[in-house]
């Protein structure tokens, strides 16, 4: 059982949502227009100098097979994104329980 954080440029939000739908994940928490800077990437601060913002999704996944499929799909999506800095980031953290 894992909790997954997906952080991506807001323009890829739809693509990520499509991937969730593809894997029948209809449960998530989403933060939109989030500012931030990734390791080795350009800042996305929503300013004129650093335009663009991020979207963050938090998903608790109990079924490891679904998680596996999602990870594969995100890797495939990232392979189509030219700039490394724009690739979709996925952070996995162990989850003890869900109430």
């Amino acid at each position: 059982m894992k909790i997954v954080f997906i952080v991506c440029n807001e323009v890829y939000s739809h693509r990520v949502m499509d991937l969730l739908a593809k894997n029948k994940i209809d449960y998530y928490t989403r933060w939109e227009e989030v500012a931030g800077k990734g390791h080795g990437t350009e800042p996305h601060l929503g300013t004129r100098s650093f335009p663009g913002l991020n979207t963050v999704l938090m998903i608790a996944i109990e079924d490891e097979s679904i998680l596996g499929c999602l990870t594969t799909n995100i890797r495939e999506a990232n392979s189509e994104i030219v700039r490394p800095g724009d690739r979709i980031r996925m952070f996995q953290i162990p989850l003890d329980s869900i109430l």
Binding site: A35, L45, R48, S49, R83, D86
Partner: protein, 1049 residues
């Protein structure tokens, strides 16, 4: 950028927003009226009063002055002008622009009605009309046919003219050159004396014998019958049977004294089309009415009149001003289309791809069509000015979209997806695009709200440009990013040296551009290392532009070639209609030798003009069908016709917004006519001897020869006659008196009693005229006194007309110009008139176009200053900096040299039009600086060093800067080339803008980075105003950035 993000996320919504604008715009377009210029008509009200037989001085004192005093109390009057000439007083009241003409006319009517009792009893009721009698007819019709002139005139006067007068917007319809039917009773003076009768007896006899008075009702039992005395003449022959008097019981019939002629009124006017006589109808429009709309309504009315026209009569439209207006409006529309296409081609050359080209090109029609909504809402018309605004803006409208799409493209080139690139690029460039648009608006708002007639003229221009660029900004933030995010493809950007000729050409063009871009990087680095040289060079260039400006002439508005010109003919004073017609015929013959001449329309004595004044309208083939311009043809005609004796000729083109008088008008004012004549003579001499002034004319005119009857009052009184009786009798004998009306077929005709022509030709005839005394002779016969017994008849001369301006006598000296411009000639004339010794109460002033030019240039310079201040305000607010706007605004002076140089090369003058072009430049040339400084700031915010940021910003923004500049230049090229009808009027603006754009673009690419770095340095130093300003700005900027950075996780 919220608007762009919403549009990208909701493409249908964005499309529908733009669609709504387009639909509303198209709807508005079809409802827009066409006109030549915006409604800049000054409200004129003209009071025309006829006092038959009175001389100019009598008219002035008895009628004109009284009417002037009465109307002077009406609110909102700007000037009162008047013309007192033989038998007629014309008072022209010019109201301030904001006054409503209809209301003003009503007030004038009331004021004149109040003093009607103080005016001479025998005046005809003053006619109050809302038009400027000096304006040219908008349409001239001629009526001809296989009938006698009298019959044609009667039909024209009674049927056609009243129906045309009813058309809304028509100010007046003047019948020129007809033969009006009149029953003339030509009295034999000898017989009159032999019978011991006076002309008054004849008048009385003729009028008393032509009555029809209702006599009440006759009641016959249950019936009631109307009783009438049938005393009206039923045939012209009836007049001969009238019993005039029965002296000594002997019956004297009219046939014993006079001959009765069913003739025509003495001709006082003439119309001739291509040498053939016709009955003419000059149609003048009311002040403020739309020429095209009035002309259309007239044509509709003509169709109805034509349907009922007898088969043997023909109506021809000899002059129709609406044709040129339509042609010129259509030509401006073509300028817009050609300009737009050229701008799109420029974009395609740079982007080398159809998709982004189409996306940016869509901004063009959308912005133009959407502008029609505001034009319709603000009651604008499709006129030369509003359309010129669109034709000049056509290169601007695509700019915002170009900058956005170019940035999107660049982001895609760096690896972003179209969606990501659209969002990021629009956000990144948003401020710069907004700043460029708002500076244009900031420049045009002061132009639109300039005071005076020029302000009125440019109001539609300024508002139309502002609205269209604001719409283009909206499109650039909605439709452009939305379409780019959906329609652009990654693979679209690839351009290789393969494929067809076009693809390879585009590849090489862009390859050369890339090389240029790299060289430019090195050039900026060099400039930043040689800042003093660059600054010194900029100062020298700026000073050079002022030096060059000295070689530019100045005029109020550029002359436009309307494929026609007018020749005003002032025949020698005292000339008869036949003599004036003969002079005109000689001119017509000379003109017909020119193959460019298509139609010659001559009118003599039109409106209130005397028979000595004629007007020849010379219509030419269209501009594109001839090699000579209208000015050259006019100069040729002037040289050829110099030999025509017996007339003073004036050559001029159709009036533009500067009015329809001559170009140079000097006004001498004062009260005493002798002194005023001396002053005017001196001014006339100055104007005549000034190079460039031609067709010089003195409004006083050489005095008309006159015969004066100086009455010995004592003798007259002793013989039982008074001055009034002498005057009315003489007038009746010579000028004639309309004793009654003859009715035939429902129409009434004047019956004029006067001496037969043979008895009123020589001075001796005047001496022999007799006046009937009130004293009785034996057998109750009245004594007939010859004029020579009570008066001395002498010859003299008097002014043929007296002009007044603002209730002061005025003599105008006017002239046309040839080979020199108004500013130059006026400068020479003013310098010399200033040295004239004038008595107190006398003045010499510049009026007409010269006065308007001085006033307008002042207003334009004020607008220029305001525009610069507004540009600073907008830039400072946008960039959140007090100092960086200075770096951007340094492009402004750099544009001046190009504008001046372009005008010099094209042979154009500094006019209101070209000066507005220079103001327009103030808004356009800041764009390059904005794009450069904006990106340099972004790069520095991202942590780059100043020099690197400036070099990179320069090379990155070179492409959009050149794309937008070339798009603007090519967009305006059709206007600047001036190929269409009336294009000379608008081309100087295009020339000034293109010249200014070229120099400012070339120079700002080097100067702006240098000045940016200098301002930045000043900010880092201590002390000094510049340093304090820059530090203040830097502190603001830091605080702003700090707030954002604190949110970074």
């Amino acid at each position: 950028m919220k608007l762009a993000d919403v549009s990208i996320q909701r493409p249908v919504f964005a499309t529908m927003m733009v669609m709504a604008l387009v639909v509303l715009g198209l709807f508005s377009y079809v409802k827009l009226n066409i006109d030549q210029y915006p409604d800049v008509d000054i409200p004129y009200v003209t009071a025309t009063t006829v006092l038959p037989g009175a001389g100019p001085e009598q008219i002035e004192s008895d009628v004109t002055k009284k009417i002037e005093d009465a109307v002077n109390l009406v609110a909102g009057i700007d000037h009162i002008q008047s013309i007192s000439q033989e038998g007629i007083s014309i008072v022209i009241i010019q109201f301030k622009l904001e006054i409503e003409g209809r209301q003003a006319a009503q007030e004038v009517r009331e004021k004149i009605a109040a003093v009607r009792a103080n005016l001479p009893a025998d005046i005809k009721d003053p006619v109050i009309q809302r038009y400027d009698p000096a304006s040219q007819p908008i349409m001239t019709l001629t009526v001809s046919g296989e009938r006698s002139g009298k019959e044609i005139t009667t039909y024209t006067k009674d049927v056609i003219k009243p129906r045309l007068e009813n058309v809304p917007g028509v100010g007046s319809v003047d019948l020129v050159g007809g033969d009006e039917r009149e029953i003339q009773i030509d009295v034999d003076a000898g017989r009159l004396q032999a019978y011991g009768l006076s002309i008054q007896d004849v008048i009385q006899g003729v009028s008393a014998a032509n009555v029809e008075i209702p006599a009440g009702n006759l009641i016959q039992g249950p019936r009631e019958l109307l009783l009438r005395t049938m005393g009206k003449y039923t045939t012209v022959a009836d007049f001969a049977k009238v019993v005039v008097a029965t002296p000594g019981g002997r019956v004297v019939h009219l046939s014993d004294l006079a001959s009765v002629v069913d003739g025509a009124k003495e001709r006082t006017s003439l119309t001739r089309v291509d040498g053939k006589r016709a009955v003419g109808l000059n149609i003048l429009r009311q002040s403020g009415s739309n020429t095209v709309r009035v002309a259309d309504a007239l044509k509709q009315q003509l169709e109805r009149v034509g349907a009922a026209l007898p088969a043997d009569l023909h109506i021809m439209v000899a002059r129709d001003n609406s044709t040129f207006i339509r042609d010129s409006v259509h030509d401006v529309i073509f300028d817009i289309i050609y300009g737009g296409l050229l701008a799109v081609i420029v974009v395609y050359l740079f982007l080398a791809n159809l998709r982004p080209t189409i996306i940016s090109a869509l901004a063009l029609p959308t912005s133009i069509i959407a502008s029609f909504i505001i034009m319709y809402a603000l009651n604008f018309t499709l006129n030369v000015m509003s359309l010129m605004a669109l034709s000049l803006a056509v290169g601007l409208l695509i700019d915002d979209a170009i900058v956005v799409i170019e940035n999107i493209y660049r982001h895609m080139h760096e690896g972003s997806t179209p969606m990501e690139a659209a969002k990021a690029a629009t956000s990144e460039i948003g401020l710069a695009v907004m700043a460029t648009t708002f500076t244009i608006v900031a420049v045009f708002v002061p132009v639109a709200f300039m005071p005076g007639i020029v302000g009125r003229f440019f109001y539609q221009f300024g508002i139309t440009v502002s609205v269209s660029v604001l719409v283009s900004l909206f499109v650039a933030f909605t439709l452009t990013p939305m379409l780019a995010s959906r329609w652009l493809r990654k693979e679209d950007e690839e351009l290789t040296n393969s494929g067809g000729l076009l693809r390879r050409g585009l590849y090489h063009f862009n390859h050369i551009f890339d090389i240029m871009s790299r060289r430019y990087q090195r050039a900026i680095s060099w400039s930043l290392a040689h800042r003093k040289t660059i600054v010194l060079g900029a100062v020298v260039i700026f000073l050079l532009s002022f030096f060059l400006m000295r070689f530019l002439g100045s005029s109020f508005f550029p002359n436009s070639d309307q494929s026609e010109f007018n020749i005003t003919v002032n025949a020698s004073p005292g000339s008869s209609l036949a003599q004036t017609a003969d002079v005109c015929a000689r001119i017509e013959t000379a003109l017909r030798k020119h193959p460019e001449v298509t139609t010659i329309l001559t009118t003599i004595g039109a409106g209130n003009d005397p028979v000595t004044r004629g007007n020849i309208l010379v219509k030419l083939v269209k501009k594109r069908e001839r090699t000579k311009g209208v000015d050259a043809l006019m100069d040729e005609a002037r040289a050829e016709l110099r030999k025509v004796a017996g007339a003073n000729l004036g050559f001029q083109t159709q009036g533009g917004p500067g009015g329809q008088g001559k170009t140079l008008i000097m006004s001498a004012r004062g009260e005493d006519m002798t002194e005023l004549q001396r002053v005017a003579g001196a001014v006339e001499q100055i104007v005549r001897t000034t190079r460039g002034a031609v067709d010089v004319e003195n409004s006083l005119e050489t005095s008309k020869p006159e015969v004066r009857i100086n009455i010995d009052r004592d003798k007259a009184s002793d013989l039982g006659i008074n001055v009034g009786l002498i005057a009315t009798t003489v007038r009746a004998m010579v000028d004639g008196y309309v004793a009654t009306q003859y009715q035939e077929g429902g129409e009434q005709y004047d019956v004029r009693v006067q001496l037969q022509r043979n008895d009123r030709t020589s001075l001796q005839d005047i001496d022999n005229l007799t006046v009937k005394s009130t004293k009785d002779l034996p057998a109750k016969r009245k004594l007939l006194i010859p004029i020579s017994d009570v008066a001395a008849v002498s010859q003299g001369s008097g002014p043929s007309k007296i002009n007044r301006f603002d209730r002061q006598r005025e003599i105008r000296i006017d002239a046309n110009l040839s080979g020199r411009l108004l500013g130059e000639v006026l400068g020479d004339v003013e310098a010399r008139t200033a040295r004239l010794q004038l008595q107190p109460g006398y003045s010499v002033r510049v009026t007409g176009q010269g006065e308007m030019q001085a006033e307008s240039f002042g207003n334009i310079l004020l607008s220029l200053a305001l525009a610069v201040v507004f540009v600073y305000i907008v830039l400072a607010a946008q960039f959140e900096s007090f100092s960086y706007p200075f770096a951007i605004m340094l492009a402004l002076p750099m544009s001046l040299i190009g504008a001046v140089f372009a005008l010099l090369v094209c042979g154009s003058a500094l006019s209101v039009i070209s000066m507005i072009g220079i103001i327009m430049l103030m808004g356009l040339v800041t764009k390059n600086g904005i794009l450069l400084v904006d990106y340099a700031n972004v790069l520095r915010d991202r942590g780059m060093a100043r020099t690197e940021a400036l070099v990179l910003a320069g090379s990155t923004r070179l492409r959009p800067i050149l794309m937008t500049t070339f798009a603007m230049i090519f967009g305006m090229l059709p206007v600047a080339l001036g190929l269409g009808e009336g294009s000379e009027f608008r081309s100087p603006m295009g020339q000034a803008v293109i010249g200014g754009l070229i120099t400012s673009t070339l120079l700002t690419l080097f100067i702006v980075p240098v000045v940016y770095s200098i301002i930045d340095d000043l900010g880092t130093r201590k002390g000094g105003a510049g340093g304090r300003l820059a530090r203040l700005t830097a502190r603001f900027r830091k605080r702003r950035q700090g707030t954002v950075l604190e949110t970074v996780p």
